[in-house]
Amino acid sequence: MSAVVVIGGGVDGLVAATRLARAGRAVVVVEQRREVGGVCAGGSFGGSFRHTGRWCDTVHFRPALAKELRLTECGLRFVPPADSLAVEADGPGIAWTSDSYKTERDLARRAAGDVDGLARLQAWVERTRPVIEALVDAPPTRLEGSAPLTPLVKQALGMRRMGARDMLELLQVGPAAAEDLLASYVQDPLLRAAMIAPSLLGTRMGPNAPHSAGIWLLYEALTGAYEVDGGPAGLVSALHVAAERAGVRFRLGAAARRVRVEAGAVVAVETSEGDLDSRAVLSAIGPRRTLLDLVDPMLLPSRVVREARALRVRGSWAVIHLGLSGPPQWRSRPGVAFGRVHVGASPTELDRAMDDANAGRLPEKPFLDVRVLPASCAPAGQAALTVQLSCVPYHLEGGWTAEARQRLLDRVLATLAEHAPHLPGQVVASEVLTPRDLEAELGLEGGHPLHGEIALDQLWALRPTPALAGYHTPIKGLFLGSSGTHPGVGRTGASGALAAKALLAGA
């Protein structure tokens, strides 16, 4: 039997490859870059600084997968999340530390009812968690065709077990606006902003957009209690070890150019470094790109092509890595070190920033999610930061010229200066990645971190598109498995795992 070719060595590609190899298949991963990891790969910048991936969140990786792939034996270590801070212009902000009593006191001082409101909200999220996990850990039910709806009925019954009240609440919250939901529990706008902003990654929604509550809930319910030590790069390195131990072979620096198809079935993958014969291909890069660029569209039903073209993949995120001559000092909490800092005053401001981005402008007041990276990422006494920005347009008015990138950096530094006045003066190195740069560097079409916008019409049975729903394609032997497929919310690894399962069952 020829080897299964996995296109793309990102998190999902690595998970899929390992699962396939452990099921006894020969597997080759084809990765265009010289290293695996995709958006999660660490790297260096500014000469002497390192980053741990273009993004730092690892709290969504499915714990069951870590266990199945025995990642702890491959060096994976879970650690409690770093202390974090939501800064504000003239006040102490909110700090989340291991001392939850202090955090509660902070919250109570800001708005008397919020401690209780937050507890009620969290309790409700806990109750919905099993329903959401069941949804995420299973392939989507195909709504079309004649396939039985039994899985759907089962899922519905699972939902009913929550009890009528929680179920109605869940059905109502899904299509509502995040801000409406949170405001009915929590008064403090700063707290709401810090809670909502990260969840809208990968959407074009502001907190007042319909459906944003559903996205928030998905994100929140999938958030685990632990992070991976070493960030995304730590996760990638464990996955890489696991894959190699399972016997996966790697072709690094080989970009897939075409999936060759004969008589409706895959026969080979053409790469920049030569062809690989194969009857089974799992593409862990974007579904849109896979179907429209790697496959001859003439071979696909017109409906599939039409839907793939319509798939929305425009990202609105940018990343800036900063090297500082010393640790940042936050005006809200002088002298205290935090691993994560949220900058953004209120959901209303987030909404405006998203409006700016959707209109093709740089946001007046950008929302920042700042990570202070481990000390090992910077020379002694210095500090490395990764700043994640939402609301940065892919199609910027006037284009992403060098001047525009500088403007973005200046605006971010000016925003940071409001909360850490010395910070701009501390900058000794910087790297700016706009959505365009993310596209060019990582092969992320549209610069979208998740290979497809997150919105109710592009999730679950509609991800990547209704005709595809899941991991199969009309071409025999070709499967889709990046976060552009279900569940696709964050770095769960579930897309790759479910795709591998589909391949094993179907090929």
Binding site: L149, L168, D180, S184, H211, D457, A461, L462, P466
Partner: protein
């Protein structure tokens, strides 16, 4: 104890509010032999389906202006044709653009194809197929409009059978239409349309039906589904069936009222209800603003849910989670209305004549225009260049204006209820608002202002004050995915019942929602009778 009221209450049901839904409910209850009283605050019934003369000889269809969803089964049961209701189909949709081009879509497929072809050949080819698919989906959705809302939490056989029935019907749709439907329920209007069409000149006016009555933009998620309403019409079996009621939309209410009276309903106008009387957790009657007390075995509210429950009933009688649900219920008004009496018909520069004006006219030249209009609303201002939906009823119905003269109905969005300086500042801004509306239209009809004899301007504030529409929302609550079906108005209370025994709700704030369709009123009456409520 015997049921309260059998001896003390002369009425089986007292209906609060004589909007068309209240009247439908009253008529059906009376037909079943019940003694029914309708109390209407204004001097005339109709609520948001109202015709009034504000300038001698000119009749305005004051609020709502087109009819398409009025349920066929109500036509039959209430015998509305015999009570004088006549519909005139609206056949065309006309949209002018600032560059002097224009688009007129109408009943003639060949002409429409040519019109659209001027913007995109591809779109012209797909347009009829798209319409057919949407028509079929609309038929599917009508299942929901003519039944009480499903209850997904219930294990009762009747409810499970209903759910299974909906599932089967879904399965019977062709694959690509299933896909279309799932996208419709979840996508934004523009994303949904862009999947099929490419010409922004076509997408922009089509997308507008997705935002009517909501405080959302054409690219807000969830707005696609309202597009279906455009394909749900059922007038003479015509495909794109919006119609005008002869005599304005007030004629709809008048016909229903006449049918109701023929069945024995008593209607009292200028009778504003102040409180719904609750004794021992049951509704037992109402108190009018002048203090008069009227007792009845059941009370049915034909008013908006928040007005009914929070103002007329009061929180003291309500469980806290129901109150919380109502407080979360989104009712943000976003539209206004300008009605004009015209001395002559002002022509559109881009296309003289009036053949293309016998339908609706949309000022929605581009999606960017609509986004800008929405951005202003979010910032608490009315759009300086709003989306307009214009109808000139007098072109089709000679009873609306003196010979040679015309009335024009202009629906305006966005006019947010919540202005930056508060909703009660609307009266100060009314003239400026009107001027922006007229300026917008005048760009296409230069002689508009010369023709105006009289103008009536209704801001969302006025809609609230005049018609009792809370926050001026035209549908008694936005029609978004989280506020329809079993969640309208409050999750778990979508079957016309309320937490107060013997108090029911029958208007647009209940399933299946707003619009001149009579379905909430009709379904409420059915539920009440089936439950043996009175």
């Amino acid at each position: 104890m015997s049921r309260l009221g059998t001896t003390s209450a002369p009425w089986d049901a007292v209906i609060v509010g004589g909007g068309h839904n209240g009247l439908v409910c009253a008529a059906l209850l009376a037909k079943a032999g019940k003694k029914v009283l309708v109390l209407e605050r204004r001097e005339r019934v109709g609520g948001a389906t109202l015709t009034e003369e504000h300038y001698p000889g000119f009749r305005y269809t004051v609020a709502s202006y087109v009819v398409s969803l009025l349920r066929p089964w109500l036509w039959r049961e209430l015998d509305l044709a015999r009570h004088g209701l006549q519909l005139i189909p609206l056949e065309t949709s006309f949209s002018p653009y600032p560059d002097g081009r224009s688009l007129c879509r109408g009943p003639d497929p060949i002409a429409t194809r040519e019109e659209i072809g001027a913007f995109s050949r591809r779109d012209a080819e797909i347009y009829p197929t798209f319409g057919k698919s949407m028509g079929r989906l609309a038929r599917f959705v009508k299942r929901f409009v003519d039944q009480t809302a499903p209850d997904p939490t219930s294990f009762r056989p009747r409810d499970l059978a209903q759910l299974v029935g909906h599932g089967r019907a879904f399965r019977e749709l062709p694959d690509d239409e299933e896909a279309l439907l799932t996208r419709l329920l979840t996508a934004s209007a523009t994303d949904f349309l862009r999947e099929t069409f490419e010409a922004d000149e076509l997408i922009a006016p089509m997308s507008c039906s997705g935002i009517i009555g909501t405080c959302l933009g054409v690219s807000s998620p969830g707005t696609a589904y309202v597009l279906l309403h455009h394909y749900m019409g059922e007038i003479d079996g015509a495909s794109r069936a919006w119609g005008l009621a002869r005599g304005g939309n007030g004629a709809v209410a008048d016909a229903i009222a006449s049918s109701a009276q023929a069945s024995g309903v008593t209607i009292r106008t200028s009778a504003a209800v102040d409180k719904i009387l609750v004794e021992r957790e049951r509704a037992v009657g109402v108190v009018l603003v002048d203090g008069e007390e009227i007792r009845a075995r059941t009370v049915v509210s034909g008013c908006e849910p928040r007005l009914t429950m929070l103002r007329m009933v009061g929180r003291d009688h309500l469980p806290s989670d129901y109150t919380a649900g109502l407080e979360r219920y989104k009712n943000r008004g976003s539209s206004g209305k300008v009605n004009l009496s015209l001395d002559f018909l002002p022509e559109f520069t881009c296309r003289p004549g009036d053949g293309h004006l016998r339908g609706d006219i949309a000022i929605a030249p581009s999606t960017a225009y609509l986004e800008q209009a929405f951005a202003e609303a979010k910032a608490g201002r009315w759009s300086r260049r709003p989306y307009l939906n214009v109808v000139i009823p007098s072109l089709l119905d000679r009873t609306m204006a003196p010979p040679g003269k015309h009335v024009m109905s202009i629906f305006v969005q966005y006019a947010p209820y919540h202005l930056a300086d508060g909703p009660s500042s609307w009266p100060q801004h009314r003239d400026a608002f009107r001027d922006d509306v007229l300026d917008t239209l005048q760009e296409y009809c230069p002689r508009l202002r010369d023709a105006i004899l009289h103008a009536q301007v209704l801001s969302p504030w006025d809609l609230e004050q005049e018609l009792g529409l809370t926050e001026g929302n035209i549908f008694h609550g936005e029609l978004t995915l989280d506020q329809i079906l079993f969640q309208r108005p409050v999750a778990g209370w979508a079957r016309y019942k309320t937490p107060v025994r013997d108090l029911w709700m029958c208007a647009s704030g209940t399933h299946p929602g707003g619009g001149v369709m009579g379905a909430p009123g009709g379904l409420c009456a059915r539920e009440m009778l089936a439950a043996g409520a009175l």
